[in-house]
């Protein structure tokens, strides 16, 4: 129930999944919101501080999540004899790999925006993630563009991923979504 099994996710993986989902969607909204705040808005500074601090913690969360994933049994596909079932399941895995990849691009680009001047990132006044300085020319501008476009790309893939889960649940009526909400008992 805690660990993953061949046909279902355990509680740890489920918590990792939904926690990342909510935090990442929240970070996307916060990111879009903060860049349009006016200079005199009380959130002008705090929104950015929050975004940076949470961002560093999300990076830690995702690394732990991946470690957990590889320390557990691989959850198998749900058997299906539908047409294109194989293709769909390959696309689903591709989307999952893409989401992890885009997340790491976001962590790296976000870090590069803020640290180009040698200043580290202060995480909730708990610790300082040190800067590596300016690694390449126009670092914060280039990293900023990458951060914006990759965030939109990630959220597009997330939307497809979520729609696919709903499709499995409501149209195919299989366990795909259920087993990511409550661990399924072995059959």
């Amino acid at each position: 129930m805690i660990r993953n099994s061949r046909n279902s996710y355990g509680w740890i993986a489920i918590v990792f999944h939904w926690l990342s989902a909510f935090v990442i969607l929240g970070m996307f909204a916060l990111g879009l919101y903060m860049v349009d705040l006016s200079y005199y808005d009380p959130w002008y500074r705090d929104a950015l501080t929050l975004h940076k601090s949470i961002g560093v913690l999300v990076a830690v969360l995702i690394i732990l999540r991946l470690i957990w994933k590889y320390c557990n049994a691989q959850v198998g596909e749900i058997e299906s004899h539908r047409k294109f079932a194989k293709l769909q399941s390959r696309l689903a895995s591709l989307a999952q790999v893409a989401m992890y990849l885009f997340l790491f691009v976001l962590f790296a680009s976000g870090y590069l925006i803020s640290t180009a001047d040698g200043r580290g990132i202060d995480v909730f006044n708990l610790f300082m993630l040190p800067s590596m300085g300016e690694i390449f020319d126009q670092q914060s501008d280039i990293a900023g563009l990458v951060h914006l476009y990759v965030a939109w790309t990630l959220i597009s893939v997330v939307s497809i991923h979520a729609l696919a889960a709903l499709y499995h649940h409501f149209i195919l009526k299989d366990l795909t979504l259920k087993r990511m909400c409550i661990p399924q008992t072995e059959k």
Binding site: S38, Y39, Y40, L48, I113, S114, T115, A116, D117, R119, E134, Q138, Q139, S140, D141, G144
Partner: protein, 190 residues
């Protein structure tokens, strides 16, 4: 049409004459020239910054000071206020919009000296795609041989511009509508 071409040809001749008449190149290579700015922060303090990359030439002869001229081209993307996040914001659409307006320019139309060192420069300043005629006081600081076989002359000048005049409308508060620009240049005679 023909007239226009002739006028254009004369104008470009004059322009190239002005350029070739420039007998000093601004020492940006050795970084003995600075374009600084400062703006009030909330009305409580000054925020300082500078443009790290620019180039220019000027013409100056102590015997004919009123024939002087100066031309400067500034890379707006080189703005540096010692804070990566702020500089990114300043380069973005809210302020300089450097991807659309990568260069700011100043070209003098008249320089009049009142005495041996003090004078007034009038010229066209282009920033954020908007060109305005500005004038400001300058001072010659000194001239003479350098220890490495060259000959140098230095000036300083200060002016204040209103950001909204150049289409930069971002609201930084009522105390921060104008920016002070400081020009500190040393030229090496060609």
């Amino acid at each position: 049409m023909k007239k226009l071409i002739i006028v254009g040809a004369i104008a470009s001749c004059l322009a190239s004459n002005m350029a070739s008449a420039a007998n000093y190149v601004i020492d940006t290579k050795g970084a003995h020239a600075f374009i600084n700015f400062k703006i009030k922060h909330l009305g409580y303090s000054w925020l300082h910054g500078r443009f790290n990359q620019f180039e220019g030439e000027f013409n100056y002869d102590a015997k004919k000071p009123n024939d002087s001229a100066i031309k400067l081209v500034i890379d707006t993307g080189s703005i540096d206020s010692n804070h990566a996040e702020r500089d990114k914001h300043l380069r973005g659409k809210d302020f300089l919009n450097v991807s659309k307006y990568p260069k700011a320019k100043f070209e003098s139309t008249d320089i009049t000296f009142n005495d041996a060192t003090k004078g007034t420069v009038t010229g066209n300043f282009t920033l954020h795609g908007v060109t305005k005629t500005i004038h400001f006081d300058i001072q010659k600081l000194g001239e003479g041989s350098d220890p490495w076989g060259g000959y140098r002359t230095g000036f300083e000048g200060n002016t204040k511009i209103k950001l909204a005049d150049y289409g930069i409308e971002y609201d930084l508060g009522p105390a921060s509508t104008h920016v002070d620009l400081g020009l500190y240049i040393e030229g090496i005679r060609k």
